[in-house]
Point group: C2
Chain length 215, copies 2
Amino acid sequence: MQGVLESRGASAGSGLTERQGAVLEQALRLLVDGGEKALTTAGVARAANCSKESLYKWFGDRDGLLSAMIGYQASKVRTLDVSAGALDAAGLRRHLVAFAKDLLDVLAGDVSLALNRLAIGQASREGSKLGHMLQERGRRQIGRRAGALLEAGRKARLLAFDDAEEAYGALYGLVVSDWHLRMLLGEEPGEMKKSFSRRAERAVDAFLTLYGKKE
Amino acid sequence: MQGVLESRGASAGSGLTERQGAVLEQALRLLVDGGEKALTTAGVARAANCSKESLYKWFGDRDGLLSAMIGYQASKVRTLDVSAGALDAAGLRRHLVAFAKDLLDVLAGDVSLALNRLAIGQASREGSKLGHMLQERGRRQIGRRAGALLEAGRKARLLAFDDAEEAYGALYGLVVSDWHLRMLLGEEPGEMKKSFSRRAERAVDAFLTLYGKKE
DNA sequence: TGCGAACCGTACCGTACGGTACTGATGGAG
DNA sequence: CTCCATCAGTACCGTACGGTACGGTTCGCA
């Protein structure tokens, strides 16, 4: 059905053709630049040089387009796994700091902020799966990387915790605090980004004070 | 101008009459129930039994209405100050736990979530002061209470920290972690609320491990 | 009793959006 | 060459919203 060569490339098995991916790229661009209000079907069609009819054929609905945008963006972000080699204390700290810095960078990204704003705006009315999708594809993903890292630290007798979820929650809170919310509310991230490194190190130090094994 | 008896009552000196406050109450109700999409001028007028013309006369604009809603809600929430009496370790912990629990309760409240969603949704386009207002009236307010509490703890030689802002950030992160974002994204707070007490105590214990003075 | 201000209810207007239908062009398959 | 599917571009429709204008009513005040 519908042609033999679909030339699906960057879609990561999402069932999307290259063309559709390019359209989603333009839609994300529009969303980042102008917010949800700028994300109209006519606008997407114009920006992507496609017809509205094709949009509805491919994504069925405006909500379908939004879901596809989240899925597409999530498929592009791949969480690199921690090298499972033997860890010493300095190596664990280095890995934790790298994780914290990556976390802050991801949360401060244009696309991440725009998609989170979109999902939060849609979260009021019932039946909107956007929030759930973002939660599942975003937090769970990065949570897995953190979980693996923490587990490796425990295996190496460098960390001590009973509930991995609680330890991860503490790490997340120490790293992020209320910065994510402030950026979502529109605070300019320009000045903040420069302090991410120092912030990540401080947070990891505090985390290790809480959960690091005292020799 | 406009009548001698304005009968301003619950407006806390915001220059609002009782009638206007009641209208804002209904507007908040609409926002909580149906999200921003349900917050139409006609809907507010119908719910509050007033005319659209009056709405525009009082608030000038739809954005003016939104700003007035935030200001009105902020004027209702008064942060009770900590009793400045002498603190012992147990008292400090009790105060911190109470603060943490209040913080979680406030963040999980219907109106708070709805207003945060509204401000975040408007944060994309430039010139929207809603995010700034919410930040100023919300976080700054509760941050002052926390700051006073931390300062009292330091005065009593129960806490040790150099940067009060950093200590407050750690406390906030340990208490809230990513729960606020999850609730903003639509996760049902029903199941979470029951664990707030335990969560607050755990977070305060961790905070005291980090910043409590070791005798 | 008459005046005037405020206000409710509603009708109205322009616009913009979601979604659909139609036309014409392209390009591959038989 | 012909047929057929896909798609771009555009016109179109119904609806809903922000904002304005108007008639009717209440109520304080002289």
